[in-house]
């Protein structure tokens, strides 16, 4: 069975998570990442609303209205989980205890600047905990479609939308490729099967340095 583009990105993102990590997954495609975390490792998923140790979705009829993830949906708590207030929840993030966060993006640029909270005049949802996560997680991985619906690149030379945080992103995973943010610029490191370097470059506004060790991602 083939995975869809969203699942492929989520699966690749899950490979960034190691045993013992404290992880926060954003809304959307990042949420899917939890389905692909290796069963052989122990991780704790952090939820902004005051839970460390998110468990699987509860069975229908077994939902607890007071046990909810940050996306507003019922969840469970794993063994060893803890509850805390919102100040403590963000203390965990700001103090550097969060190993990795996987977030979506509206735009991300060559320097690792991230814009994902507002389109002025159009969509003004607010940043929620996004700025805290982007600024202070030890590693910020972005999972996003490579282009907007109109075909324009989301991987920019310079973000034009208001920033969530400056120079915070380490790795960008799209349905086409995996790119690392380095001091020299964006390095194209991996291609999903079926894509070409030419296609990625043509769909990317940012400059790309093609890695000497470029590899093809083949799942299944």
């Amino acid at each position: 069975m083939g995975l869809g583009a969203r699942e492929l990105m989520a699966k690749r993102a899950a490979e960034e998570i190691s045993n013992g990590n404290i992880v926060n997954l954003g809304i959307g495609i990042p949420t899917l990442v939890s389905d692909f975390i290796s069963s052989g490792i122990h991780v704790f998923l952090h939820s902004e609303n005051g839970l460390l140790g998110i468990g699987p979705k509860p069975k229908y009829g077994k939902e607890d209205e007071n046990l909810i993830n940050a996306g507003g949906f019922p969840c469970t708590a794993v063994q060893g989980a803890s509850y805390f207030d919102s100040a403590e929840s963000f203390a965990i993030i700001r103090s550097g205890k969060l190993d990795i966060t996987i977030l979506g993006a509206l735009e991300v640029d060559e320097k690792g600047n991230l814009a994902n909270w507002i389109v002025p005049g159009k969509r003004v949802p607010g940043m929620g905990g996004g700025m805290d996560l982007a600024e202070n997680a030890k590693k910020v991985v972005i999972v996003t479609t490579h282009t907007n619906k109109d075909g324009s690149s989301k991987i920019k030379k310079k973000c034009s939308l208001p920033l969530t945080a400056k120079e915070c992103v380490s790795l960008i995973i799209t349905e086409l490729a995996v790119m690392e943010v380095t001091k020299e610029g964006l390095v194209l490191k991996e291609l999903f099967e079926g894509t070409t370097v030419h296609e990625v470059i043509s769909k990317t506004e940012a400059g790309l340095i093609v890695s000497d060790t470029l590899r093809m991602i083949r799942y299944e």
């Binding site: 007071n66 993030i93 920033l163």
Partner: protein
């Protein structure tokens, strides 16, 4: 066992509501409505007080949590982190009927906490290089740059607790804790809706999350319960 109201904090909802009036600065616990008191929200909507300034994590959903108060046109200003789940809040903002000040979530939590703990502000790196920086002082400490974020306090805070004793010692339920303990500290009048009021001594001092010293009024009662979005989808 009968509950002795030895501290006089246990009150009828009507008496508690005399503190919430036009122009009240109101802080509320809750995250997407989870941990927001259905009873007190219902009473605020019924009383139909106007020009409230609301301080809390998010704008709830149109029929859930603080969202009900917003949709009823009772707020003139909000200090919050997210309004995405309540389209009416966005619409009122666009129409210029609701002023919104966004604060990053951890920053909002610490601003409320600072208000509640007698601190003059907090130094936070979140928002540096973004629009959040506008109009704020930056301060360098040991070579690192921070934004000076000012404390927040409210006239009235509304809290939703799992249980309260007559002194107002509180415990919460799972993720319904969120902003509640912070709001309890940062309000001139802290009104708790407790699902259950238990006799003094029944809560283990080791498990109490909010010491009763922060609590002024305790109410209990049904009413105002909403259907969650995930219940409607099922």
């Amino acid at each position: 066992m009968a509950i002795e109201n030895v501290f006089g904090k246990i009150k009828e909802v009507d008496e508690a509501m005399t503190h919430i009036n036009d122009h009240t600065v109101l802080m509320y616990g809750g995250f997407g409505g989870v941990g927001t008191s259905p009873l007190l929200i219902n009473e605020i909507v019924k009383k139909n007080v106007k020009d409230l300034t609301l301080i809390g994590n998010d704008s709830g959903f149109p029929q859930i949590g603080i969202g009900r108060v917003i949709c009823n046109g009772q707020a003139k200003k909000m200090i919050t982190t997210h309004i995405g789940s309540n389209p009416v809040a966005g619409q009122l903002m666009t129409e210029g009927k609701l002023e919104i000040e966004f604060s990053p979530q951890g920053t909002l939590a610490e601003r409320v906490r600072a208000g509640g703990t007698g601190l003059g502000g907090v130094l936070i790196n979140v928002g540096l290089g973004t629009v959040i920086e506008k109009g704020k002082e930056t301060i360098k400490v040991d070579g690192k740059t921070y934004l000076l974020e000012k404390p927040l306090r409210a006239d009235v805070g509304i809290i939703y607790a799992k249980a309260a004793d007559p002194f107002g010692n509180l415990i919460y339920d799972k993720t319904a804790r969120n902003f509640n303990p912070l709001v309890a500290m940062a309000s001139d009048v802290t009104i708790v809706h407790a699902e259950e009021i238990v006799p003094l001594g029944e809560l283990d001092p080791e498990e109490i999350i909010t010491p009763g010293v922060y609590v002024d009024i305790i109410v209990t009662g049904e009413g105002g319960k909403w259907k969650w979005v995930w219940e409607q989808e099922n």
